[in-house]
Symmetry: C2
Subunit: 582 residues, 2 copies
């Protein structure tokens, strides 16, 4: 049947009685495709029936279906004409792992961060009401995304609508594994009572409420969706689904099958086991080793993880009392860190660059203005070939200008270890930027101790000074080597401190350097290089400063080699530029 379906109209031709068979076909198709492409395996396997039922009952794109995060929109893509394209997932920029309005009229938003769908949907609903139209607005949100503050704000405001507003809560028991209290206990109680628990979170917020115990029964789902369709008031449909359904490995280990690379569908084994590159060390391993010692030595030290990224199970299992998973709740994570540090505990917050964007005000108000000595480790920062919403190249522009926050970044594995040690005694807000996750094993001035605001000079030359920040320090070294081959001995610097200038050093350098090159793994606008340029251009030095990094733009699923070329970030390109200036 699937072969003939290229649109929701085609789907609607299938009779209700046959939908269940169609779901089996889709599930098999998904397993075949994902075993080759990799992707969000377990979430999409769990949501097959709900997606089929939604498109069978509602009239997309007139009715608007918004997938929260949208990592579970593969079935939606299959049913809306992208069945062939999805076979190339991760191998072509023509299809994203998330919804994208430029990909299909059935995708309304570019999504990718959690907890946003309900708030976006209130906008659609408000516009619809003002325009005098009357379509359905449907958000589909997973239980994991309910923990984010924006989801609550959306619920609270959505309840004020006097019109159609449907929220499907996909409850796949994320809660059992990690959370015991709060909203997750409420979901558990609701499941256990077939939706009849007193003190229902959704009813408390003013929503009409339906519970579907068999969220993988397409007929049960169709029945309820038909009831709520064209509803004239806010309603929640709480559906209980099985994450990973139909793939035994995924059903049994939903946490590790949330996202998987290509795998053997018979054994579940990963197909590619990437060999570790001996020139790089894993930032996660160094972090884990350091925290292992800290948590063992100091019973008031603890780790805070806002949902993702994961540091692995080791610390969680070994130090359950010293490991706090806040769920997807970065605001909470930052405030909790500051509160705990205030009274002498030693919290370490581990978060990824794109998601720390969700706690900007908390970093300023709950943390920096309170000057509490928390340590924030910012992982997965830098230019990458990921999706729009998962490229972590804005964190320097975001964090470097916040008062009272010191932002540092290591150029090597040894330097990261030294910075972690530095963090144990530094008593003000500190953030450490980790880049892509692989730390170069290079000599980056490790004999020069970490001192507040002091940059490391690793090669002394003249004419050209190269400031290679963090991960891009090795790029600076490569540029220096190429220049040396052309007879130019440059000065190479590892700045370490993103937002503290070593003015003494810079004042010395301007005496015999006329070209300054800054290299950073992030956007130039608002970045490290502009701070340097702002200072150097003010001191009457008659020098040139060239800032290398990314443009102020969104990038999406682009080959990293293409990005490097486009931004002139290859050492050869940089050397060409320098030669023109010398």
């Amino acid at each position: 049947m699937l072969e003939k379906i290229n649109s929701p109209e085609d789907l609607k031709k299938i009779p209700l009685a046959k939908l269940s068979t169609l779901c089996d076909e889709i599930r098999q198709f998904l397993i075949d495709v994902l075993s080759q492409t990799g992707g969000h395996v377990a979430p999409n396997l769990g949501i097959v029936e709900a997606t089929v039922a939604l498109h069978w009952v509602f009239e997309s794109p007139t009715d608007k279906i918004i997938f929260d995060v949208s990592h579970q929109s593969y079935v939606h893509k299959i049913l809306t004409g992208r069945k062939d394209l999805i076979k190339q997932l991760h191998n072509t920029p023509k299809i994203n792992g998330y919804t994208d309005f430029s990909e299909s009229e059935h995708d309304f938003f570019r999504m990718g961060h959690t907890s946003t769908s309900i708030s976006l949907a209130t906008g659609l609903a408000k516009a619809r009401d003002l325009q005098g139209r009357n379509y359905n607005v449907v958000s589909l949100i997973g239980d994991g995304a309910l923990s984010g503050g924006e989801a609550f704000e959306g619920f609270n405001n959505g309840a004020n609508l006097k019109s159609n507003f449907i929220v499907i809560v996909n409850d796949n028991e994320f809660s059992i594994d990690t959370n015991s209290g709060g909203l997750y206990a409420n979901l558990t109680h609701l499941r256990q009572t077939n939706g009849d628990w007193s003190n229902n979170y959704f009813k408390a917020l003013g929503y009409e409420y339906f519970y579907v115990a068999e969220g993988n029964s397409v007929t049960d789902l169709v029945k309820v969706f038909q009831v709520v369709k064209d509803s004239s008031r806010p309603v929640v449909v709480h559906i209980h689904t099985k994450k990973g359904k139909g793939l035994s490995f995924a059903e049994n280990d939903t946490v590790h099958w949330h996202y998987k690379g290509p795998f053997d569908k018979n054994t579940g084994q990963a197909i590619f086991n990437a060999k570790a590159n001996p020139n790089f060390a894993s930032a996660v391993k160094i972090t884990q080793g350091f925290l292992d010692r800290q948590l063992a030595d100091n019973k008031t030290a603890f780790v805070i993880i806002p949902g993702a990224p994961n540091l692995g199970d080791y610390l969680k299992n070994k130090y359950p009392a010293q490991y706090v998973d806040t769920g997807i709740a970065e605001e909470q994570a930052v405030a909790m860190m500051s509160g705990a540090a205030k009274v002498g505990a030693k919290p370490y917050l581990y978060v990824s660059s794109p998601f720390i964007q969700r706690a900007y005000d908390q970093i300023i108000i709950d943390w920096a203005v309170n000057q509490t000595p928390g340590v924030m480790l910012v992982a997965w920062a830098g230019i990458s070939g990921g999706d729009y919403t998962h490229v972590g190249m804005y964190d320097i522009a975001m964090l470097a200008h916040i008062p009272a926050l010191t932002y540092i970044t290591p150029a090597s594995d040894d330097e990261y270890k030294a910075m972690l040690e530095f963090s144990t005694t530094f008593n003000k807000p500190l953030a450490i930027r980790l880049g892509s996750g692989n730390l170069p094993r290079v000599e980056a001035g490790s004999n020069q101790p970490i001192e507040l605001g002091k940059w490391a000079v690793t090669q002394i030359g003249s004419q050209v000074a190269i400031l290679g920040l963090g991960e891009y320090f090795i790029k600076g070294q490569q540029v220096a080597q190429l220049l040396q081959a052309k007879g130019i001995i440059s000065t190479v610097i590892n700045p370490r401190f993103i937002n503290i200038l070593d003015k003494k050093l810079l004042q010395k350098l301007v005496q015999n350097h006329k070209i300054f090159i800054t290299l950073e793994n992030g956007i130039v606008s608002g970045g490290f290089g502009q701070i340097v340029a702002g200072y150097l251009s003010s001191i009457d030095a008659k020098i040139i400063v060239k800032n290398y990094g990314a443009k102020r733009e969104f990038i999406n699923n682009e080959l990293e080699s293409d990005i490097m070329n486009r931004y002139h970030l290859n050492p050869e390109q940089i050397v060409e530029d320098i030669e023109r200036l010398v």
Copy 2:
């Protein structure tokens, strides 16, 4: 009695039976003081009994009492040794309008933004548990602050604690006026049923729950606080209080008495009626006039206000369907704007600079990456003599580097009107920075139409180019006049576009200008000036760029004249600097 109270210990010597009389004394004292100093009148009058009961029952500072926002902490300040100091509120840097750890050991955090107390308290509680201590952690949060996502994240995570965690919800019926659905309807139902409503929001989240109908009865409060004291699990005490209690004007008009300047305590009349300065126009009035026309002409245009700041009652009353108050929920406000713009409605978001910090990720992910044509008006932006958390000088560093967002700022009243017109046809994300609220009535190039990325030149000279951004354009004009008196004819520029360089103009200017001055009403780090310096220092122009603005630091209740001196922002100081360079 109040005379003898200089600490919580002194308070505890008063017998329970006399606390009510003490509360009357405090209330009278408050009215006397606030009628002279101005301040958050109604919130503090409503919370007298609760504060007295808290300090009578709990042992501050061993027990930690955290006031959300802390604009309602005046009574707390009075009871903790700051009774005389508070008479100088707003007239000395020795006392803030919010809690501040550097002011008293009874204040744990510098607060000022809403909805943060519960999350901060989870950090205190977690630290306490790891440290094996056993004090009470008590947050006091008002109903208005419950709408912010961080408060929900705090509740949801606090519920996981297996230890003492007390949240006092001060419900003064904020809900009646503005909100009908969501959590506020739940509070209303709870009040109407004396706390017995089915589907209790707090119970749904796993909290033990107590309701105090007479939240201005100090004996009722003491009774319940004694019950929950030393509780070994998370508990909510929902207290129903009267905002503005004891001052008839404030009781009858809580919205306008939320904050008041000095007033006559017999008539309620304001003591100072500031005369409008004829050299400035009110940004609020221009905004209101423009929106009045837009909302009348286009029934799909609407205004979104996240709680504060207020645009006044005019639009709200005239266009109830086109005016959305999201409550304090900036994330929701931005996402709603983007969602509505996506399907062709025309939303205008009005927000203040310090609070838009709360929606950084939503601006990037829900809005900019979706390229929806919303318009965000950023009010109260700039260097000011306010409290730590209310100085709006970070928004350029925050917003200017976001891809796909155009950030503009007017130099005059006429230019603001032109920019608002520009916003009606511009079909990408647009933000307009409004500064202090008073727009200079000056000629700032109003004969040069607003064109994307084109700066206005208002005086042509040589040697020195002065780029005066937004409100600081007049500072640039003043500098130019002073220079002219010294025989230097400078070029004066109104850049209009904060984050788009007019490279053509700059390339022309570098030919006969050697000094570039940038002036901006915000921090230099990450600001407009550094974007300019980054470009100019890269083009081998042998020029000097001086960026004027605020340092990367927090400022607090400082005289604006002192700040200007310290940052060298007086025109005379800037001219001195230039003379040294010429």
